[in-house]
C-alpha cells in the first residue's frame, strides 16, 4: 500500500513537479495558478500556518494578561487588540529568532564581523536537535514504506546509545578510529534491538507493534539497570549516571567549540541519501517494498519474506540506534535514565510529516527541531510553555496528513496531492 498515491516528493521544487505545470499558463498567472492549486508545497505551507494559528488561539486562551485584556474588550478595545497582538507576536518572534537567529544580532554580526557565535547559535542548536530526530524518523519511515510499524524507536535508540557509549568510554583510540567505531556500535546496538521483533515476527508471527512497544519499556529499564551497575555507571557516583565517553569518541564540531552543531548533521544527511537510494534504486529496498505490499506475491516471486522482514527491522532499528549514538557522542557524552526523551516517539510524527519520504523526513525533522529549539527560547523569555510547540507540531501533521481538509478550509483548487495510504495497518 505504502507506495500508492502521493507521487510528488514533499520538497521537490514545485514548478518542476506540480502536475499543473503541463497545461498551466506561464509567468505570473502561472505562479498564481500554482498558489491556488493544492500541491504538496502549498498544502504544507498552509498546514504550518494553521498550526501557528491554533497555537495563537491557545496562547490567547491561556495567558492571564491577554485574558485580562479581553475582559476590557468593550471598555478599551484598543488594549485588547494590542495586548493580544504583542503577546502572540512576542511569542512567535521568539519562536523564530530562537530557532533561526535574531535578525538584529545577525545584522550586527555582518556589520561588525563580531558576535557570529551568538548570531548562529540558534541555527546550530536547531541543526543539532534535528540530526538524531531525522535519522530516527528515517528508521520509522523505512519501516512504514515496507509495511512494518516500528514503534520501538525509543528502545532501539537507547540500545544504540548504550552500545555507542560503551565503545566510547571503554577504549580510547584516536578519534579517526574511535568515532567510526562508535557509529558502528550505535548502529549495531539498534540493529540488535530491531532484530528481536523482526525475528519473532518472522518465526512466530508475533506482531511487531506489540513487541516493539514492550521492548521500549524493557530497554528503558535495562538502561536504568546498566546505569546503576558497572561498567556503565559513572565511577564514584551512586547516581544513575553513565560514564562520560572519551573526547576521541565525541563527534567533532563543525564550527568550532562554542557552536554545538557537529558532524552528526552529515551522518543524518548520509542516512537520508542512503535510505532514499535503498528505496528507489536498491534491489534490497525493492524486495522490501514488494514484501511490504503483498507478501504472497513476494513468496511466489521467490523473495525470502522472512529474511526481508527481519532485515527491515534490523536496518530500521540500526538507524534508530544511530540516532541515539548521534545525540550521545554529539552533545550529551554520558547516558542517563530515560535517555532520548521523546525523540523515540517524535520521530514517528516526523516520519509521517515527511510522508515517509527521506527528503520529506529531513525537512520534517528540521521543522520539528526549529519549533522545539525556538519554543525553548519562547518559554524562557515569555513564559509560554514549550509544550505549545508540540501542539503546533501535531496540528501541522493533522493538516499535512489530510490534504483534503486543507483544500476545504482554504478553498484550494484541484487535488494534486496524492491521497495514498502511508501505513499498512495490522496486516501481518
Amino acid at each position: 500500500m505504502s507506495d500508492t498515491g502521493f507521487t510528488v516528493p514533499a520538497a521537490a521544487p514545485p514548478a518542476s513537479t506540480s502536475p499543473v505545470k503541463a497545461n498551466a499558463p506561464r509567468g505570473w498567472s502561472r505562479f498564481f495558478h500554482w498558489m491556488v492549486e493544492a500541491n504538496v508545497v502549498m498544502v504544507t505551507a498552509l498546514a504550518i500556518f494553521s498550526g501557528l494559528f491554533v497555537g495563537a488561539v491557545l496562547i490567547i486562551a491561556t495567558q492571564a494578561n491577554v485574558l485580562h485584556a479581553w475582559s476590557l474588550l468593550f471598555s478599551h478595545p484598543g488594549t485588547t487588540v494590542s495586548v493580544t497582538f504583542f503577546t502572540v507576536g512576542d511569542a512567535y518572534r521568539d519562536l523564530f529568532t530562537g530557532s533561526l537567529g535574531d535578525p538584529f544580532v545577525i545584522g550586527h554580526a555582518i556589520a561588525t564581523g563580531h558576535g557570529w557565535g551568538q548570531a548562529l547559535t540558534p541555527l546550530s542548536e536547531t541543526l543539532l536537535y534535528a540530526s538524531p530526530l531525522c535519522v530516527a524518523g528515517l528508521a520509522v519511515g523505512l519501516g512504514f514504506r515496507t509495511g512494518m510499524f516500528n514503534i520501538g524507536g525509543q528502545g532501539q535508540l537507547i540500545a544504540g546509545a548504550m552500545a555507542a557509549s560503551y565503545v566510547g568510554f571503554e577504549i580510547d583510540p584516536p578519534a579517526i578510529i574511535h568515532v567510526p567505531l562508535c557509529i558502528l556500535a550505535g548502529f549495531a546496538g539498534g540493529a540488535v534491538a530491531g532484530f528481536i521483533p523482526g525475528f519473532l515476527k518472522a518465526r512466530t508471527g508475533a506482531h511487531e507493534v506489540i513487541v516493539t512497544i514492550m521492548l521500549n519499556y524493557v530497554f528503558l529499564n535495562l538502561l536504568v539497570l546498566a546505569l546503576t551497575t558497572q561498567p556503565f555507571q559513572q565511577p564514584h557516583q551512586a547516581n544513575a549516571v553513565g560514564r562520560t565517553i572519551f573526547g576521541s569518541a565525541e563527534l567533532p564540531h563543525i564550527f568550532g567549540q562554542n557552536l554545538r552543531v557537529n558532524v552528526g548533521v552529515f551522518i543524518a544527511i548520509a542516512c537520508a541519501l542512503g535510505v532514499s537510494w535503498l528505496l528507489r534504486r536498491g534491489t534490497l529496498g525493492f524486495g522490501f517494498r514488494v514484501v511490504g505490499a503483498n507478501q504472497d506475491a513476494a513468496k511466489v516471486a521467490g523473495i525470502n519474506v522472512r529474511r526481508a522482514t527481519i532485515l527491515v527491522l534490523v536496518i530500521s532499528g540500526g538507524l534508530a540506534g544511530l540516532a541515539g549514538m548521534i545525540s550521545l557522542c554529539g552533545s550529551d557524552y554520558f547516558l542517563s535514565a530515560g535517555y532520548g526523551g521523546t525523540v523515540g516517539f517524535d520521530c514517528i510524527t516526523v516520519a509521517l510529516l515527511g510522508r515517509n519520504r527521506p527528503i520529506g523526513i529531513v525537512l520534517g525533522s528540521l521543522l520539528f527541531a526549529a519549533l522545539n529549539v525556538g519554543g525553548r527560547y519562547m518559554q524562557a523569555s515569555t513564559g509560554i510553555p514549550l509544550d505549545l510547540a508540540s501542539v503546533i507540531q501535531a496540528i501541522i501533521v493533522f493538516f499535512v496528513a489530510t490534504p483534503g481538509l486543507v483544500n476545504e478550509v482554504y478553498r484550494l483548487r484541484g487535488m494534486n496531492v496524492g491521497q495514498g495510504l502511508l501505513t499498512r495497518g495490522w496486516a501481518a
Partner: protein, 349 residues
C-alpha cells in the same frame, strides 16, 4: 493598559537584554509539577517573588538530558540574575556553565562540588536525618508490625530517604524491644561511609502513578500499615492505594508538607519527611537579588532546619504526646550526632 506595558516590557527585555532582576529555574525531566524538587524549587522562587515583587521568575522544562545544556545557555543569554538547576544530572553542565561564565550566579539542587565553586550555591540535604524520625514514628504507630517504603528510582537522593527511614524503624525496635519490620528497602551490609546502597522496591518512574499504587498495595498485602513513598507524584498513586484500602493504614509524604501540597489526602498523612528546597532556593534567589550571593556547598540538616519532619496536622491528637516528646528528644540527639542514623548499626528484625 498595564497589560500592554507588561507585554511591551517583556519584549524589550528580550530584545535589549535589560530589565529587572530575573530568577530562572531549569527543571529536570520530571517537569515543573513533579510534586518533588522541581516543584519545590519553583515554589521557592515564587516565595522569593512575594518577598521582592520587583523580581521576575521564569522556568524552562527539560524533556530529556540533552536539554540541560541548551536550557542553561538560553537563560545565560537572557542574563538571568540567578539560575537554579534542579537535580544531580545537571551537575556537570552547571559546573561547565559556571566556569565559562564566572559572573553568572547559579544554584543547584541535590548536588555538591568538591572543591566548592564560588558562583554555584550547591544545595544538598541530609534527608536521612528527618527520615530517621519518620521511620521511628512509623514503627511506633504501626499495629501490624510491618511498615514499608518504596522509591521512584534507585538513586541516592531517593535511597537516602529510605535508608534513614529504615534506620529509624530499626532504632525503634532496638529501644522499644519491638519487632517492627521495614519492607521495601534492605540496606547493604557494611558499606562505605556516606553510601546508601541496598536493594528495594522501585517504580522506575516518577510519573506512573498506577505503578505507585501497585507497589503500595503490595506493601499493604504484606501487612505494612504505614507507607512511605519516595517517588514524587507517584506517591499520589500510593495515597490512592492507601485510601482505597482504609482500615487504618496511613502514610508519610515526602519532600514537602503533604497537607499543604496534597490537602485532599491530608487525612492519611501521619506526617511528611520534608526537604527544605523551598526555603533554601528562596534564600539563594533573595541573596542574589540583594547582591549577597555566595557560592559553596550548603547542607540542609535537622539542626539548620534544612530538613524537618512536618507538623502532624490531622494526627496531632492521634499521635501520643509521649511519642511526640520522644521524637523531639531523638531529634536533638540526631542533631547532636549522639545516635547513628545508619541502619547498619542496628540489627534488622
Amino acid at each position: 493598559a498595564s497589560a500592554t506595558a507588561t507585554a511591551r516590557h517583556r519584549a524589550a527585555a528580550v530584545v535589549s537584554h535589560k530589565g529587572s532582576f530575573l530568577a530562572c529555574e531549569v527543571t529536570d525531566t520530571g517537569g515543573i509539577n513533579d510534586r518533588s524538587f522541581n516543584a519545590s524549587a519553583w515554589k521557592g522562587l515564587e516565595d522569593a517573588k512575594v518577598v521582592d515583587p520587583s523580581m521576575r521568575i521564569q522556568y524552562l522544562s527539560s524533556t530529556s538530558a540533552s536539554d540541560y545544556e541548551p536550557n542553561i545557555k538560553t537563560f545565560i543569554g537572557l542574563h538571568c540574575g540567578i539560575i537554579i538547576t534542579v537535580g544531580f544530572l545537571m551537575g556537570t553542565d552547571t559546573e561547565n556553565a559556571a566556569k565559562a561564565h564566572p559572573h553568572q550566579d547559579f544554584a543547584i539542587v541535590d548536588y555538591s562540588y568538591s572543591p566548592p565553586i564560588k558562583n554555584i550555591d550547591s544545595l544538598l540535604y541530609d534527608t536521612n536525618q528527618d527520615a530517621f524520625l519518620g521511620g521511628f514514628l512509623a514503627a511506633a504507630m504501626s499495629t501490624t508490625g510491618y511498615v514499608g517504603t518504596f522509591g521512584g528510582e534507585d538513586i541516592p537522593t531517593v535511597t537516602i530517604y529510605m535508608d534513614g527511614w529504615v534506620a529509624g524503624v530499626r532504632y525503634f525496635d532496638k529501644v522499644d524491644h519491638k519487632h517492627v519490620v521495614a519492607l521495601g528497602w534492605t540496606p547493604k551490609k557494611n558499606r562505605p561511609k556516606g553510601s546508601f546502597d541496598g536493594t528495594g522496591t522501585f517504580t522506575n518512574s516518577f510519573t506512573n502513578q498506577a505503578a505507585g499504587r501497585t507497589d503500595a498495595s503490595a506493601l499493604i498485602q504484606r501487612g505494612a500499615d504505614v507507607i512511605f513513598p519516595v517517588a514524587g507524584s507517584v506517591g499520589l498513586g500510593a495515597a490512592a492505594g492507601v485510601k482505597a484500602y482504609g482500615h487504618g493504614v496511613t502514610m508519610e509524604w515526602v519532600d514537602t508538607d503533604g497537607c499543604v501540597s496534597v490537602p485532599s489526602d491530608c487525612s492519611i498523612f501521619l506526617t511528611s519527611v520534608t526537604k527544605g528546597i523551598v526555603k533554601s532556593v528562596e534564600n539563594a534567589a533573595l541573596s542574589a537579588v540583594h547582591g549577597k550571593f555566595h557560592g559553596g556547598n550548603y547542607f540542609g540538616t535537622l539542626k539548620n532546619g534544612g530538613v524537618a519532619l512536618s507538623p502532624y496536622h490531622k494526627f496531632a491528637k492521634v499521635i501520643p504526646k509521649a511519642l511526640q516528646n520522644g521524637l523531639n528528644q531523638i531529634k536533638s540527639m540526631v542533631e547532636a550526632g549522639t545516635i547513628s542514623i545508619d541502619p547498619d548499626s542496628y540489627p534488622a528484625s
